[in-house]
């Protein structure tokens, strides 16, 4: 095959893959509904991995005994959380199910640990990348008072747009980096 055709073909293939990847995420960011989730404190030793923050939410741990119906989940199962936005503007999960909720805002998660009465869920919004040397503003708060502004699309996929401390968006540009 003509090398020029191969070159052009492969270039288009790369554009399709990378463009598709970006498009998939942009779809969630642009078309999704913004939801504010409160993060809960995490073990300070686990807070940071390099230059990203580990985030946890109330919905990260699900008490199965509080769910209606005898639901059983195994690791790697998909779980759907129905979101309700409270008067305080924060999103919370009012119901969990194995089926896609109809005509409701919901977030999709994957079970990564399953016990008899409790499961741990990953929603794809547990990491937030911070500029080098500037994560101390989050570390100092030990995850308390830190909120995540998340975009959730109609398929339940979620992308973190930004983090807030005391309801104010963190502006890393104005924060001075600390040398390690």
């Amino acid at each position: 095959m003509d090398k020029k055709k191969i070159f052009i073909g492969l270039g288009i293939f790369w554009l399709v893959i990378l463009g598709g990847f970006i498009g998939f995420k942009e779809f969630t960011v642009k078309t999704g509904q913004e939801v504010l989730f409160k993060t809960i404190p995490v073990d300070p030793r686990d807070l940071f991995r390099g230059d990203y923050v580990i985030l946890r939410y109330e919905m990260s741990s699900v008490d199965l005994s509080k769910l209606s119906g005898a639901l059983m989940f195994l690791v790697n199962d998909t779980i759907y959380g129905e979101i309700e936005i409270g008067k305080d503007g924060y999103g919370s999960i009012v119901n969990f199910s194995k089926e896609v909720p109809q005509d409701k805002l919901f977030i999709k998660g994957v079970i990564n640990r399953a016990g008899a009465n409790n499961v741990q869920v990953e929603y794809g919004i547990e990491s937030y990348f911070v500029p080098a040397g500037k994560g101390y503003v989050i570390e100092d708060r030990r995850g308390d008072g830190v909120d995540a502004k998340v975009s959730v699309d109609r398929f339940g996929n979620a992308v973190i747009k930004t983090l807030l401390i005391d309801e104010n968006e963190i502006d890393f540009k104005s924060i001075k980096a600390k040398n390690k």
Binding site: K3, K4, V29, E126, K134
Partner: protein, 412 residues
């Protein structure tokens, strides 16, 4: 390449006269200098390309808050496609710097991976093993067409590394904590990793075999086969050692042996295709020689041993598996030496010699440590290694000279 010794021999035999000999020697010397200079330049330019690529990626990563997401993506795609385009122009369009061009295309493949990971970071994709295998999968799928479009051995080697990393992560993520008897058992994790390593090694080895149907794809297939062989061989080597079984037993922490349903399903998901590919290679290989047949039989036997270990591991069977894997390893080394000799392939002979030496050293420690006095142990061991090394080097030189002479005889 013609050298001074060859020219001298032709002159002495009267094949050429003095004038011709002088001209040939001058041309050969000039060509050698140009080739050497060319290699040096290629290395410098390749290194420069890699450094530029790393710099571009670091620029984006370290100025995260200073650049908008849109420009981050533009820079990443620009450097990736720029390297790829420049490589194509130099290697195929103008064809004036083919090696530099190939190095730039390889850099493009690396930058494709870096771009994928940085785009994931832009969207704060979870930094977890699950996300990692998705990103590795994207990288692997992205560069595979480059392997076949440009018949790049370097990118085939990169694809092989990504293949193993991808299989390992998929298996680990999909089976960790899932219904396993010892849910977070180090024993299960270690054993499963070793078995899956052999399964994926045999799979890649067999996939490489199918490439021999096409003359153009033969070199790519060889890369896959060597990669699959090296990984499988390394694990078989580990499984022939007593200390590994001691570690396995220690990591059990007194828990039960046995496998879970989920893990078994995944081993089957990987093992069955590996087995079918190996058997298909046996009967439908384009190269119908005894050595290829023997290689494929060896692959099937190792796969079978690995699966037996997976299903029947336990304190009572460890000794039996250690003996079986030791025999398997020794058998493979001897076969590699035989194949290397038959095919006059120094790469295979060197690799076999390396593994044989390592095997002898490890077994010497395993069998004789504690048997002799320490000073005698090390002295005897040292003498064996020195003498063995001299004999090995002598044999290697003989083989190399014989292979070179035989190749020149074919081309002459």
């Amino acid at each position: 390449m013609i050298d001074q010794k060859q020219i001298q021999e032709w002159l002495q035999s009267g094949t050429i006269d003095q004038k011709q000999a002088t001209k040939m020697l001058s041309d050969a010397t000039q060509t050698k200098k140009e080739e050497s200079s060319g290699k040096f330049v290629t290395s410098i330019v390749s290194l420069g390309s890699v450094l530029f690529g790393i710099g571009a990626v670091l620029f984006v990563a370290l100025n995260w808050d200073g650049i908008s997401d849109f420009f981050k993506i533009i820079i990443l795609l620009g450097v990736t496609f720029g390297s790829y385009y420049l490589g194509y122009v130099l290697a195929y369009q103008k064809q004036n710097y083919p090696k530099v061009g190939a190095a730039l295309i390889f850099l493009g493949a690396l930058l494709f991976g870096a771009s994928t990971f940085l785009i994931a970071q832009i969207y704060n994709m979870n930094s977890s093993p699950r996300s990692m295998y998705i990103l590795l999968g994207i990288w692997l799928v992205g560069i595979l067409p480059l392997v076949y479009g440009f018949l790049s051995k370097a990118i085939a080697a990169l694809a092989s590394v990504l293949f193993f990393a991808f299989i390992f992560l998929v298996f680990t993520v999909e089976t960790t904590g899932a219904n396993s008897i010892n849910e977070y058992s180090d024993y299960n994790f270690l054993l499963n990793t070793l078995v899956v390593g052999i399964v994926s090694g045999v799979m890649l080895f067999s996939i490489g075999g199918f490439h021999y149907t096409s003359e153009k794809l033969k070199e790519v297939g060889r890369i896959y086969r060597l990669a699959g062989l090296q990984v499988s061989l390394f694990i078989v080597f580990l499984l022939s050692m007593k200390f590994l079984y001691d570690i396995l037993e220690y990591s059990r922490y007194g828990g039960e042996y046995g496998v879970s349903e989920t893990v078994t399903v995944w081993v089957a998901v990987l093992g069955i295709p590996a087995f079918l590919l190996s058997v298909a290679n046996l009967f439908f290989s384009a190269v119908k020689t005894k050595t290829v047949f023997a290689e494929n039989i060896a692959a099937i036997l190792i796969l079978a041993l690995a699966l037996l270990l997976f299903f029947f591991s336990g304190l009572k069977t460890f000794m039996m598996f250690r003996v079986l894997f030791t025999a398997a390893f020794a058998g493979i080394i001897l076969m590699m030496l035989f194949i290397g000799y038959q095919n006059m392939d120094m790469t295979v002979v060197n690799k076999a010699s390396f593994w044989a030496t390592l095997f002898i050293v490890v077994k010497y420690f395993e069998w004789f440590w504690g048997t002799f006095n320490p000073y005698l142990f090390f002295m005897v061991g040292g003498i064996i290694l020195i003498m063995g090394g001299i004999a090995l080097e002598k044999k290697r030189k003989e083989l190399k000279a014989r292979f070179t002479a035989a190749n020149m005889g074919h081309h002459g």
